[in-house]
Amino acid sequence: MDKKLIVNDFSIHVATVNGSGSQSSNAVLLKSIFQMGIPVSGKNLFPSNIMGLPTWFTIRVNKDGYIARKKEVDILVAMNPQTAVDDIKALRPGAVCVSPVELNLDKIRDDVQHYLVPFGELANKASDNVKLKKLLTNIIYVGVVAELLEIDQVEIDAAIARQFEGKTKAIDLNIHAAKIGREWAKENLKKSDPYRVERLNLTQGKIIVEGNKAAAIGCLFAGVSVVTWYPITPSSSLCEELIDYLDRFRTDKETGKKSYAVVQAEDELAAVGMAIGAGWAGSRSMTSTSGPGISLMAEFVGFAYFTEIPVVIFDVQRVGPSTGLPTRTSQADLLSAYLLSHGDTKHVVLLPNSVGECYEMAMEAFDLAERLQTPVFVLSDLDLGMNMWMSDPFIYPEKPFDRGKVLSKEDLERLGGFGRYDDVDGDGMTYRTLPGTEHPKAGYFVRGSGHNKNAAYSERPEDYMYLMDRLLKKFDNAKALIPQIEVDQNNDAKIGIIAFGSTHWAILETRDMLANEKIATSYCRLRALPLTKGVEQFIDAHDRVYIVEQNRDGQMLDILRMEMPHLTAKMKSVRHYNGMPIDAEFVVNGILEQEKNAR
């Protein structure tokens, strides 16, 4: 075994049973390392079920700040008898395994560094209560691991205090149990693996947060006023967090009156219908869902496209088709969202890559929806939405709301009337009035059927073409308004990488890995659809461009092909679609494989 120390660069994989309370212990472990100033990320792999099935939590500790998934496990904490054998078999030789002594995992692999722990006995020491014993076992392994990795006990204590904020008894119990684990380890285990943490100062001032919570914060500051939703994993927590924030920050402390409304709809058809009704009536409205909900919203979204009603739709993607793997991550709703509904439809889609962008793009989405008067999708995913990500703190928005082109009573008095769908400004974006506007000419009639500039029913070919061409013009003009691509151009690079969303983090690492192999790369991160000129320039500037994404069909590649056909010869594809977050090794291999043939 390599006796060289490996400091601040490893991953811990904790295997437990869901519903067993391990989640908070894992959070404590993660936060304690974070508090030591070391970059971390945490990914929860859980089943589509409430209790009793295997679940894994992976903490990646990385001094260079890589926070993508790393496929290889360095330290396994094998607490789940159901999966322990498989878990340990999957380890590479030389890895570390912490496990309950009675599982006899050392009999299975001898090329692994074992730490066998009598968790049962230790739990007996921690409490007399049977139920509590089970729960506390989780924090005991945290104590053991803390000792092995040299995580400071003060940070464990602090993390526990944060985790159980307000519940003094729970805090005391947990700290006590953690210490039992730690003490036992100190006395009984002979440290013989290379992994250690050492204080750094790379997390100072940073936050740790899930993407769904970040998006909720964004919606809060975007001034959302009508939220409609139907529960679905992995999107539920977005609205649930938002409800909590709205309750705290948008409820009048004295009167209890709310500057928002939340409706738990009966399904997604209703959820989006309500959001559309609310958007039409002038509120900032949104709904949030995942794949099956997107499918159910298809008809209504086409309606909103055609009648030009602002609405924001979050899609926290999970693995499809159908129910698919509801607790696994994916980027496979891209084409559905972009083209959602029958007939000729195209939608603006924002593609946050980080919790920071979940926050920012939530705000941008509302501005865009009202400016463009159209549905705007924000495509997050389970990895981004439900896992814990380190980030710089969010910045308070400076930009005022953009409410788009709305005519008031006074405007109408001045103008003497208006044509709801008349492109007076020539930018494809027309003026609307809100219901309740006190003017005899304020009213108009929204219809999903053919209509002319004045919103009157029309089947005339000319009116229809005017409308459809104008919608296209508007879509084209959206390109200047949406979040722009982020390009890191390397003039030595023959190859470029295009990626979006949570794939970003694996790309950062990929590029460094490739650089180590002396392969220079440029990088273009897509941040929204429609695609813009810059993407074309980026592709143009390279010999080969790898589009890296997390779906089977290469959906972004499809869109690039559709929209930049003259550049298709340069486009190559790397696709990851087994439900796990993509990792850099996979991308590197995918690129190298194809480079072999290319050169």
Binding site: I217, R250, V272, I276, A278, W280, P393
Partner: protein, 350 residues
């Protein structure tokens, strides 16, 4: 008789309390078939709103898809209107109401739109008790798609080509009562007086008010064998009472014999006045209503009038405890919390 050649002095157009004429409540010309029941209902909607002196711009009109759902274009053209997708008007209206709870919300739907594709949303609208007047123009068929049976077609009734419906009808009034709706009425497009009174009552109700109005489709469902034809409805119409509506701003007069009239007070202070016609009927008892409705199916009669009323329930937006100003009218100052709020949140996440 004395004949005169002097033309009569042009009458000043009659205006209501807010100075508007009946014409100010009209919409664009109807494109429905001549004689369609829906057009008759449109007229009564216009009349009711005009007589109640409702500001047209305060109204929001909603519909789904169907001949019936086209009609909001034919009245109150000064109001904003929303012709949505098939069967899903309730959700749109719910959202719009939350965004602006000051709007007077009127929905017009068809039996296909409500009882077939829209059954789920209809049920949940009622469960939420979203304040709106919900008129079903019920002809037992899908008019716009050329006359197939809808889910309100009575068992045994026939299509023009003789096809017999073998399924029991969904009774939207019975259903609404079961789901807790606080204002449930049935009427007939051929009874303008009753209909106007019921629309006014519905407007005075504070939650969801359902009006199931038999509205014959002259083109596809007005033949013998139809139980939704003008002829059948006229013959079988059994009004529960004679109905009047007394708006809150008018004095209630008591010029009737005791026991002959029941006055139901609506939440805004208006009254529905129910004059007894035949048997006693207490519209505040849901069990009475349920029994009467289902008995009428057995009898093959059309029971019309105010079937059920309950003014005690809270509606959806009042439960939501909204600020007084419509959410849609709030500006950035009200909607975006201050920087201190973000700081607080960030502090919790470090």
């Amino acid at each position: 008789m004395v004949s005169s050649t002097t033309p009569p002095a042009p009458k000043a157009p009659v205006t209501n309390k807010i100075g508007l004429t009946l014409a100010d409540y009209k919409g664009s010309p109807s494109t429905l078939c001549d004689g369609c029941g829906h057009d008759a209902i449109t007229s009564q909607i216009i009349k009711a709103f005009w007589e109640l002196s409702i500001e047209p711009h305060q109204v929001a009109k909603f519909s789904g898809i169907g001949c019936s759902s086209k009609t909001p274009a034919y009245f109150l053209s000064r109001a904003h209107g929303f012709n949505s997708v098939h069967g899903r008007m309730p959700s749109v209206a719910t959202g719009a109401h939350m965004a602006n709870h000051k709007l007077i919300t009127l929905g017009v739907s068809g039996d296909g739109d409500t009882a077939s594709i829209g059954l789920g949303q209809f049920g949940h609208l009622i469960r939420r008790n979203v304040p709106m007047v919900y008129i079903v123009e019920n002809n037992g068929v899908y008019g716009l798609t050329k006359g197939q049976f809808s889910a309100t077609a009575d068992i045994g009734s026939t299509l023009k080509d003789g096809t017999v419906n073998r399924q029991t009808a969904i009774d939207l009034c019975g259903l609404a009562i079961e789901l807790g709706c606080g204002y449930v009425a049935r009427s007939f497009a051929g009874d303008p007086k009753q209909l106007v009174a019921l629309i006014k009552g519905a407007l005075a109700h504070k939650g969801t008010a359902l009006l199931d109005v038999i509205s014959p489709c002259v083109t596809f469902n007005n033949h013998d064998g139809s139980t939704k034809s003008y002829k059948y409805a006229k013959e079988m119409d059994r009004p529960l009472h004679e109905l009047g509506f007394i708006p809150f701003y008018e004095q209630i007069t008591v010029d009737y014999e005791p026991g002959t009239v029941q006055d139901v007070q609506m939440h805004d202070g208006s009254h529905m006045r129910l004059k007894k016609i035949g048997n006693d009927y207490d519209p505040t008892d849901r069990f009475v209503a349920d029994r009467a409705i289902h008995q009428s199916h057995k009898d093959g009669t059309l029971l019309t009038g105010l079937l059920y009323v309950d003014e005690s329930q809270q509606n959806y937006s009042s439960l939501a405890n909204l600020v007084d100003v419509p959410l849609a009218s709030l500006g950035q100052n009200e909607l975006r919390p201050p920087k201190s709020a973000l700081d607080e949140i960030m502090a919790e996440l470090t």
